[in-house]
């Protein structure tokens, strides 16, 4: 493919980079992992095959080799040679075809998965872009006009996949009100009104992105057990009650910030910090958080650890059903 116009921010991503979080390299990878995976499953690719993650405004691409493509994720109108084509379906493309996008209706991130996946080098165990460190993907940066991308050879014959479509019941639905399931833990004992947190409606602020999303609520204010017990801040912590000595941040963790906000750490998140971390979003719901837009309303609903594991299992089963539906002999 050749990039005619790069869109707002288009990155090469795969499912992520693991084993180096301790050294400040987070997983990175797609903000909506389900949509990315399904794109590759439909194509008969390895699910980790690199694809493009587009943000708000999609790129314009000129196809330079025979390929199949799937467009998945946020609701948008993909176009091949200016003709709108359905999302979540395999399309055959040939050299000279122009891919473009219009009318993002909901969500933020959408994906262009191509047969074989995009041929970029492996850096520290993955081909995904890490923007902060400027490594991986295409030269460690978003795509620019004029960039040329090559594809790996396809792993499934085009005749097996062309026209394949995801069943409607599996297609992600978007709205602007969401419930995000979370498990309270970590430093939750520093707060004594977590039940209120679970009931409050939060709104995503304009401060959002691949590192994290910042939410505010007019209905909720943090109440600290240290204030009740009249305790000073521990040594090593900052002076605000939301500060703590430096501790780890799981991906998906929720931190209290100094302005009564809740920050959810996302795929490019930092591995530690000094803000109280009191909950973690259940992994499948990270896709919902990743697709939130400013002013979307979110309720962080508390679930138990057992329920969280059941939700994860449900997601595995859903993906397995999709994989099965793509098996053709």
């Amino acid at each position: 493919m050749r990039v005619i116009h790069h869109g707002l921010r288009t990155l090469v991503v795969d499912l992520g980079r693991y084993g180096l979080y301790a050294y400040g390299l987070p997983p990175s990878g797609p903000m909506d992992r389900f949509s990315f995976r399904v794109g590759n499953i439909l194509l008969g690719n390895d699910e980790n095959a690199p694809g493009l993650e587009c943000c708000f405004v999609g790129p314009t691409l000129e196809v330079t080799e025979d390929a199949c493509m799937v467009f998945s994720g946020a609701e948008v109108d993909p176009r091949i040679n200016d003709e709108i084509v359905p999302m979540w379906q395999v399309h055959r493309v040939k050299p000279g075809d122009l891919i473009s996008f219009s009318c993002l209706k909901s969500g933020v991130y959408f994906y262009v998965c191509s047969s074989g996946g995009i041929d970029v080098p492996i850096v520290h165990g993955s081909r995904t872009t890490n923007l902060q460190a400027g490594i991986g993907g295409y030269e460690g940066r978003p795509l620019r006009d004029g960039d040329t991308l090559r594809l790996f050879p396809p792993t499934t014959h085009f005749s097996m996949v062309e026209g394949r479509r995801l069943e409607d019941k599996y297609i992600r639905k978007f709205s602007n009100h969401y419930e995000v399931r979370t498990v309270f833990g970590l430093s939750k004992d520093l707060l004594y009104n977590l039940d209120e947190f679970s009931k409050a409606i939060f709104e995503l602020s304009p401060q959002f992105g691949r590192i994290g999303n910042r939410y505010y609520s007019s209905e909720f204010k943090y109440r600290w057990t240290r204030d009740v017990r009249n305790e000073p801040q521990p040594l090593g912590a900052g002076q605000e009650r939301c500060n703590t000595p430096a501790g780890p941040y799981p991906i998906g963790s929720i931190q209290a910030d100094g302005m009564n906000g809740a920050v959810v750490l996302l795929q490019d998140g930092v591995n530690k910090g000094c803000f109280v971390c009191f909950a973690v979003v259940v992994e499948p719901d990270m896709d919902i958080v990743g697709q939130n837009r400013p002013r979307d309303k979110v309720k962080f609903v508390s679930v138990s650890l057992e329920q969280a594991l059941s939700i994860r299992k449900g997601e595995h089963i859903r993906l397995n059903r999709i994989r099965e539906s793509c098996l053709t002999f």
Binding site: G238, N243, P250, G258, A308
Partner: protein, 311 residues
């Protein structure tokens, strides 16, 4: 001493989201020396956990008195993971047996530099002091009732331990090996993290120093700038001329490793510009020497032992 610390470092196991185990060793309300020892014990535990290669674990990291393990719950149950971690805890040797050949670096810093002030002014809506009346350096000094010179002395006197084991790839952070709590600055981080920090900015947290080597977000108060590159990431083309600098930065793109030691020395504008010119020209040589760290000696005489690490 170690037995007392172990009795204070009782672990609490907590979960996050179904795929994270976070263990807190001891209460947060411990004295500084105990905190540093617990930290070293935790470091040895992380090393042993990595070597054990327990199936299902995807990430292992530790900060301060916490251990964080990310795992795949379809490959290991949470309860079984705790059992495995406890087995490693029981077998983990005391940090007093830990000695290592490390390196001692000297990092020059221009305190209260103009770029930190520029960044603060651009982003002050996220800071405690929004009127732009003083730099982060002055804010921290005044918060602690110190003059600027006293503050510089407080930062330059301690030995720091730890290199790139930090929050973003190749960002360096060092723990102050300072026992006296009165010498550790009281700090508030920025209430909202900055989206960017000028390259080579030196930031201060409570008991630690951070060097932001490139344009990356952060929340520590910015107190100075170092003229020397500590990371190969986003190294400007003019700084890539010398094989010496690239060689020094080749291990995980970073100057210092997680157990290296650091001294900070205060320089002025002229010295800063002189060093920058040498870096760009290619003639700059890092001030570094190999040393041996012995935890036993540090436990016996914390103040005296760190004073032996000089150039």
């Amino acid at each position: 001493m170690l037995e007392r610390v172990k009795s204070e470092a009782k672990p609490t196991y907590t979960s996050g989201g179904g795929s994270d185990l976070v263990v807190y060793y001891g209460d947060q309300q411990v004295d500084r020396f105990t905190f540093l020892i617990i930290r070293m014990m935790r470091e040895v535990l992380v090393k042993n956990l990595r070597e054990a290669k327990i199936p299902g674990i995807t990430e292992i990291q530790g900060f301060g008195n916490t251990l964080h393990v990310m795992f795949d719950p379809s490959r290991i149950r949470f309860e079984d993971l705790i059992t495995e971690v406890k087995k490693i805890e029981e077998k983990t040797e005391d940090p007093e047996t830990w000695s290592a050949d490390v390196r001692l670096f000297e990092i020059p810093v221009w305190f209260n530099d103009p770029w930190s002030m520029e960044c603060y002014l651009a982003l002050r809506d996220k800071h405690q002091i929004k009127d732009g009346s003083r730099s982060n350096f002055e804010y921290v000094a005044q918060l602690n009732g110190w003059s600027n010179e006293e503050f510089i002395e407080k930062v330059c006197t301690p030995l720091y331990r730890g290199g790139r084991d930090s929050l973003v790839w190749s960002v360096h952070s060092g723990q102050m090996l300072e026992r006296e709590e009165k010498n550790i600055p009281r700090i508030s981080n920025w209430p909202q993290s900055r989206p960017w920090t000028p390259p080579r900015t030196v930031g201060i947290g409570a008991g630690s120093l951070v060097i932001y080597p490139y344009l990356v977000g952060g929340g520590f108060q910015m107190i100075g700038s170092t003229p020397v590159p500590v990371s190969a990431i986003e190294l400007p083309p003019e700084e890539r001329k010398t094989a010496k600098i690239l060689e020094a930065l080749k291990e995980m793109d970073s100057l210092m490793g997680p157990r290296d030691l650091m001294r900070v020395v205060s320089i002025g504008k002229e010295a800063y510009e002189e060093i920058r010119a040498k870096v760009v020209e290619g003639s700059y040589e890092y001030k570094v020497k190999p040393v041996r760290w012995e935890t036993t000696r540090w436990l016996e005489d914390p103040e005296g032992y760190v004073r032996t690490f000089t150039f």
